[in-house]
Amino acid sequence: MARNKYNIDEELDAPFNWPQFKRSLVYVKKYKKPIAIMFILAVIASILGLVIPRIQAYIIDSLIPQGHKAIGTIVVLGVGYFIINVGVIFINKKKGLIGADTSQSMTTDMRTDVYAHLQKLGFDYYDSRPHGKILTRVINYVNNVSDFLTNGLINSILALINLFITLGFMLSLSPKMTLVVLAGLPVFVIYVAVTKPMQRRYRQKAANKQSNVTAYLSENINGAKVTQAFAREEMNSGIFDGLLNENRHYKLRAAYVAHGMYPIAAMIMRIVKCAIYIAAVYWFREDFIVGGMVQIGAISAMVMYSNRFWAPIMQIGNIYNQLMDAMSYLERIFQVLDEPVSVEDNEGATELPQIEGHVEFRNVLFEYEKGIPVIKHVSFDVKAGESIALVGPTGAGKSTIVNLLSRFYNVTEGAVCIDGHDLQSVTLRSLRRQMGVMQQDTFIFSGTIMDNIRYGRLNATDEECIAAAKAVHADDFIKDMEDGYDTETKERGEGLSAGQKQLISFARTLLSDPRILILDEATSCVDTNTERLVQDGIAALLKGRTSFIVAHRLSTIRNCDRIFYIQDGVIAEEGNHDALMAKKGLYYELYTSQLQELLGTDGE
């Protein structure tokens, strides 16, 4: 299992990945219409914008020499100039509104896809990487990429459109001069080409280091108490500083290259400007010196066009940086989307009908990692309504067996059947809905206690939730709280004791009214007295339901119909308490050693 920790970079080595880029356009395609409108608005704005230098040139070169009689025309043209300018501004406003809506919609879509896929991924995915790194993908990377897709991508296309329109205007003014303006282009292209690989490397590095920083931060927030208990504050702060400095190192390296873009372009622009003057005076005199007068308006219009020509190029240069970032983020987002779903509905899977609860393991072999079997050819048959206790040393495979029952993992070989239906042939939803699983790790959501219980059955009434809480004797402590069932629960149930969390989770599971109940150490942190009360409370509810109980306490185990003693991934012994005691095997040893030890000391 490829695991990842805070200081391991997730190496990615795709420079510009065309198929990946094309794939990202899926998100763009949905918004063809608003994007088309944006383009149209952009073209209009750009053409209008380009008329402006023309007006200016006309005023300077043609009207001013006419003297006083031209003043009226100048004023009229000035008003026209203003109206066009304001028109451009408001077209851009409209474009901006559409753009914001589109980009936000794309972000929302992309995030929804990533999140939806995460819902399908199995335990193994979540178990094998820091959660902070998953979170970053859903939130930050998506924000970045969609920002690029709208602002970056659309702007660069707009910039290109601008570029060509400007080119057209320049050509109409003076084709020869246009060549002069274009001469600067190769220099810029060479600069970009040379710095590109450096740029990419530094940016990727910086992104990796950033993700390490977030992962470490997130873990330290969650584990702050442990850190304090082990007096590791200083050391961890030092580690964090180290991660920050690494991050800074690459961010600055990237910046050194990226910030060169504008000054270089500005420099080229300036040289081009000088070239325009030289060309006008020496090379193209016939066009720019008319009747002994140097056409200053035409020259300055050309300079303006040249500036307008270079502006989009600089913009594209900037977008290129964004593009590099976006590509590495996209890669990670697609990595999540491409993460194979290990457990999913097989083709032709059918709804599992209302089950009785007859469970069969047929020669089940299971390995988390290839070649290391955890469950070794286990077969058993549990009748509907039977209660089974799973006992045995830690790590023997008890939790794995119950996890296979809900198909949280797929069996490697053999089959798990419920009421004769192979679990591989039924839909996950129809299966899990009928299973009530209470896992070793309890999880409390932020919300209220009531919300947490209701998580088991969303349409349950308050009374039903309270009844479930009463059955597991959670009602007692909940009632004692200031706001009772409306008491707010914090993330992960901070503020509740481990036992209380277990009881709430237990109530939640019971409320889901499952046909098969799986209790994996459901009450390990609950005191014995309460546990006894819980057992009495749920006895009636358990009647007729198949149940699997993983436990260490003998009191819990003894009352089950049958006991499986699991060792090394096989069922070493099975039978009811009396039968196993009579057998004088592993279970007998376990039971007597416990009792013996207890009574032994007592008798001393």
Binding site: K5, I60, I74, G78, Y81, F82, V86, K93, G96, L97, A100, T108, Y115, L118, Q119, Y126, S128, I139, T214, L217, E219, N220, I221, A224, V226, A229, F230, R232, L244, A255, H259, A266, Y277, I296, I299, I372, G392, P393, T394, Q440, F443, L458, E491, R492, G499, E521, C525, T528, N529, R553, L554, S555, N559, M581, L590, Q596, L599, G600, D602, G603
Partner: protein
């Protein structure tokens, strides 16, 4: 302003980089304003009189000026970037240190996603706007000044006409700022909600799957996801409402320039007008008036974001830390491990969680603590390790009140395993060595052996180099508990507190662990909190807690004879009925387990 000063301090010695950035920026503005003059001269002195031989030297000068300008621009960005990054590293580091000392209260009240946002996104906003906005502001003020100077020198009436527009721009920019601030705040708040929902979904993925709640989770997520979109669009809309007005006002200046300028050329220099060259100067300087006005909106935007983020970061940075180091560390040099709780009382708000609890534990003693769920067992640990201070009474170690110990010394003297096991996503080795990072491998191995973790760790493909998931995901409950126990043991602290450490391990393993713990060479004071009789039975002395009070105390034998809570628990745990229990204990007293 105060906020800027505060943020500025985080640059440390890199403050000078920022000053350098401003310097380059000013130089850049100077060079930039020089350039139009060169071209004005080209127009007036070279092109109009057609004295082209002077063209090359002047263009050469223009290129030189341009080159210097580009260099200034580059160094402005680089210096600003360095200053920003310095502030990021220092501020993030400081916030991290703060997080390390904040107590459980803070973490109870604040969602992890929110905290992460403050420490990353908000810090970035602060340092960026600081190092890029300050030079920008200086640049604008300077540009305006230069433009005013240039225009005033050429024609003062004309300049006044141009300035008519400015008050309107200022009003609009101010209005926009007032509305943008709350909009940004809302957007950030919404982002943190979104963050929290996703973080919780990731952390609770097992429960989500077990209850087939993917749809429900999707709905929860969509509410926040769509909400984030809406808040963002709201902010952009405000921006787009005022921005165009400000831009339009700016374009008024350009028009006045063009129209009035042209008329002035027609009037002619001799009649108080201007030359062609001066007109080109006007036109090229138009943007030095325009740009600051147009950028005003952007700046307001940046400043609002800066303010919103600074508020959030400052809130965290200045958060009160309830538990602090004493002024003077009075802890003993060598810690023996005597532990006294003298009439300890603790109130959380109006609820009393610990009520007059007294315990006196000699060095090396093993103490068991049992009690019902929520009876205050874990709270007891919290007052000893000083996650919370007692309301009344005192906790003393070696006769010194824990409030007089330096926190580091105190916590180094206590090896603790927590009920809610948290492992870091790191190797098993690093996890065990968490409290003693420089320890030898031998210590790690021997600690793992005592905690009975060695066996299963050795079976893993990478053994002690295996990386476990965050919170120890991927390990079973019992395995996690054993790694966390090994982690506590590896510290070799004089006091060892085991809070429900073996609840998920089987009895045999527990017995193994107990034997090895007892055989540890350096005797330490041990407090075992548990639900199982088997966990505490061997202890020298056992306390039973109930609703924050000590209900029963004594040795296993004494408590069995009392036939109270402890006895009942014992009987129940072994699944015996009352009659059976009498029989069992009866025969047991004769040394035989013959009841079966």
């Amino acid at each position: 302003m105060k906020q800027y000063k505060w943020a500025f301090e985080w640059m440390g010695k890199y403050k000078f980089r920022l000053i350098l950035a401003i310097f380059f920026d000013i130089a850049g503005v100077g060079l930039m304003t020089w350039e139009p003059y060169i071209f004005k001269d080209i127009v007036d002195d070279v092109l109009m009189p057609q004295q082209f031989e002077r063209l090359f030297p002047m263009l050469g000068l223009s290129v030189a000026v341009g080159l210097a300008f580009s260099a200034c621009r580059y160094f402005t960005s680089i210096c600003a970037e360095q200053a920003a990054e310095a502030a990021v590293v220092r501020l993030k580091g400081a916030l991290f240190r703060k997080l390390m000392v904040l107590g459980p209260d803070y973490y109870r009240e604040n969602k992890a996603g929110d905290i992460i946002n403050k420490c990353s996104g908000d810090v970035e906003v602060i340092s960026r706007s600081l190092s890029f906005v300050i030079p920008r502001v200086v640049e604008f003020i300077l540009m305006l000044a230069v433009a005013l100077f240039v225009f005033l020198r050429i024609n003062w009436k004309y300049t006044l006409i141009l300035l008519l527009v400015s008050p309107f721009t200022a009003v609009m920019a101010n209005k926009m700022g007032k509305r943008l601030h709350p909009a940004f705040k809302k957007a950030r708040k919404q982002l943190s909600n979104l963050n929290a929902v996703v973080a919780e979904n990731i952390a609770g993925n097992r429960v989500v799957k077990a209850f087939v709640r993917e749809d429900f989770e999707m709905e929860k997520f969509q509410t926040e996801n769509q909400g984030y979109k809406a808040r963002n669009i709201e902010a952009v809309s405000i921006w787009l409402k005022y921005g165009p007005i400000i831009d339009s006002l700016a374009s008024v200046i350009t028009v006045i320039n063009l129209v009035v300028g042209s008329i002035l050329v027609i009037i002619g220099k001799e009649n108080g007008g201007i030359t062609y060259g001066e007109l080109t100067l006007f036109l090229s300087f138009a943007w030095t008036l325009n740009e600051p006005l147009m950028m005003l909106g952007m700046l307001v935007n940046d400043i609002q974001r800066f303010r919103a983020s600074t508020e959030k970061v400052q809130e965290l940075y200045y958060m009160d830390v309830a538990i602090q180091d004493p002024e003077k560390d009075e802890s003993p040099e060598t810690v023996e491990g005597r532990l006294d709780l003298n009439h300890v009382t603790l109130d959380y708000g109006s609820t009393r969680v610990l009520d007059d609890v007294s315990m006196h534990i000699a060095p090396g003693q093993v103490i068991g603590v049992m009690g019902s769920t929520g009876s205050g067992k874990t709270t007891l640990v919290n007052v000893i390790d000083r996650y919370v201070d007692v309301t009344g009474g005192s906790v003393e170690i070696d006769g010194v009140d824990v409030r007089k110990w330096s926190l580091k010394k105190l916590r180094s003297s206590i090896g603790l395993t927590m009920q809610d096991v948290f492992l870091f996503s790191d190797t098993v080795e690093s996890n065990i060595a968490y409290g003693v990072p420089d320890t030898e491998m031998e210590n790690i191995l021997s600690s793992a052996v005592i905690a009975d973790a060695d066996e299963f760790v050795s079976q893993m493909p990478d053994k002690y180099d295996t990386i476990v998931g965050e919170r120890g995901t991927g390990l079973s409950g019992g395995q996690k508990q054993r790694v966390s126990l090994a982690r506590a043991i590896a510290k070799h602290a004089p006091i060892l507190i085991l809070d429900d450490t073996t609840s998920a391990v089987d009895m045999e393993t527990e017995e193994y662990i107990q034997k090895h713990l007892a055989a540890m060479p350096d005797k330490c004071t041990t407090i075992i909190i548990a639900q199982r009789i088997s966990s505490v039975k061997q202890a020298d002395y056992i306390y039973i807690l109930d609703k924050g009070r000590i209900l029963e105390e004594g040795t296993h034998k004494q408590l069995m004879q009392q036939k109270g809570y402890y006895y009942k628990t014992c009987v129940m745990q072994h699944g015996l009925e009352d009659a059976e229990a009498d029989a069992a204990f009866g025969t047991a007293l004769q040394g035989e387990g013959g009841a079966f």
